[in-house]
């Protein structure tokens, strides 16, 4: 009998610290699968963020580096300049990328830095118990928006793909989700395209993945998936926002 599905070599066989229903495990696995498929395990260097995925280096069997909150794109730049032929990716959450690290992500994209960013957007600060994120939806309740996010006080959810896609240095920008096998498959294709963009030295790529946080959304895992499909995608529409293969599309 042929084995058609198994643990990727790059994924370390250990229980993760993630909560039940959290999307990080799915995204980690996809990255590991892609590294295996492209046969780049021995030349890939990953950046773990501050946030729930801080321990990503416990799960991916590659050289990895930690970065302070918001700084993975800067650290990735420093690594990539030393090793331009290695594959360098950062893995970042919404607070990291769209609040404290907004300057770093915009300028790294603007330099056309040849790195790939995996941006996991779950609209909440998970590691610190569920405060408002820059991507928290309007009316969404969090610890610091107990009556729901009010645009008059808290501002609006920040759409990073849309912002980054108008930057000349960006070459591949896409938003996807992990709510169904079809969407997970699509997410894998898009992340793989991001890595391919880098391998072909085309410049900056970012894939935003809409992901779940059942604990701080106060929902079951299934309700969380539904919430992405029915609510999050209204504010954060899925799609490819910039693609070097079709530069005129935006």
């Amino acid at each position: 009998m042929e084995l058609t599905y198994s643990k990727p070599k790059t994924l370390i066989d250990t229980p993760t610290h993630y909560c039940p229903g959290c999307g990080h495990g799915i995204v980690h696995r996809l990255i590991a699968e892609i590294i295996d498929d492209l046969d780049i395990r021995e030349k890939t260097i990953g950046l773990a963020p501050v946030g729930c995925a801080v321990l990503a280096y416990n799960y991916l069997d590659i050289d990895m580096c930690e970065a302070a909150h918001g700084r993975p794109p800067a650290v990735a730049t420093g690594i990539k300049r030393v090793h331009p032929d290695n594959i360098v990716f950062s893995y970042q959450g919404d607070g990291d990328l769209a609040a404290i690290g907004t300057a770093e992500i915009i300028h790294t994209a603007n330099r056309g830095e040849n790195i790939t960013v995996i941006f996991v957007n779950n609209a909440v600060y998970g590691m610190t118990n569920g405060q408002m994120a820059p991507t928290t939806l309007l009316n969404q309740r969090t610890l610091t928006t107990p009556k729901g996010r009010n645009e008059k006080i808290d501002g609006y959810p920040l759409r990073m793909c849309e912002i980054l896609s108008i930057i000349d240095g960006s070459r591949f920008i896409a938003r996807t989700s992990i709510t169904s096998p079809a969407n997970i498959k699509k997410t894998k294709q898009l992340i793989q395209k991001g890595f391919q963009t880098q391998i072909e030295k085309r410049g900056f790529s970012l894939i935003e993945v809409l992901s779940t946080c059942p604990v701080y959304w106060h929902m079951t895992p299934c309700e969380s998936m539904k919430y992405i499909d029915e609510q999050m995608t209204k504010t954060f529409p899925l799609g490819v926002f910039k693609d070097w293969e079709n530069e005129n599309q935006f």
């Binding site: 930690e66 800067a74 770093e104 300028h107």
Partner: protein
Amino acid sequence: MSINKNQKFLLTGNEASAEAAIQAGCRFYYGYPITPQNEIMTHMALRMPEVGGTFIQVESELAAIYMVYGSAAAGGRTMTSSSSPGISLKQEGISYLAGSELPCVIINMQRGGPGLGDISPAQSDYFQAVKGGGHGDYHTIVLAPSSVQEAADLVFDAFDLADCYRNPVMILGDAQLGQMMEPVVFCKKQKTDLSAKTWALTGARGRKRNIIKSFYPVKGELEVFNIKLQKKYHEIEAEEVRYEEIDTRNADIVIVAYGTSARICREVLKDAKKQSLKIGMIRPITLWPFPSHCIARVAERVQSILTVEMSAGQMVEDVRLAVNGKCPVHFYGRTGGGIPSPKEILHKINELIQVKEKVTCVTS
């Protein structure tokens, strides 16, 4: 620009520091403009492409120090430079560099503070430089040049020290040193006996993966790591203290001063000699590790010690700790960009002598 060994150049301290870094094998420079150290950056912008290195004018001081973090983690010789307010912004990153044991060089050409302050020479970042500056139990090695030649030489040494101990090294200069021009020769060579950076991130080819981090969430792990760091710091304290000792043997009063202040005090020593005053000087070259033993030894036999700084009194605290009550420790300083003149310092010395004579009179 071509540089021959032993060729003499007339350069500012900023340019000499930058060129020395290139000569020392630094190939990754990241910086943000701030006066009075801009010539470091402009020299790097010119020279890095010539030697196949990387120069990035970064969007912020924060991003600059984290690019240094990345290049250091990847095994490159890397540097950033700034002046006081910019160095404050880098402190988080310096703490991370120390916590991840990453080698790099940071140049601080100090200016007046607090806040935006001014762009005049100052030595008021001493506490920040030698006591950590960022959060956590750590030290950076701090070197304090007092001439353009020494600035160049210490940059060479800084890269070797950083690699040797896997620790950030700070060069603590000031606007005066950065801006003035002096002849300089790039005569130092890179150390060749440093061990290979087997810990660096290169891609896990034919070896187990490397991880660069400063996060130890399991209870007790961080304490174990911090004790290891402290062991390293004790080794640095035992091996790397540097200072210059001038005429302390028969001195009545010994000055302790570093960098530009020490340069001014050299003139004071000459003038004092003319007045037949017995004045010596200890010039710390490493501010951390601090030459406490030398100061303690001298304190046994002098009437008093005078610390001279371009600050409201920072290094004087370390001098007092070293002296530990063995003799009186006096302070003369100018702050906010003020530069003490040799005349002012000599006046202070004469005051100390007169007070001493009065005391002697009363007691006898």
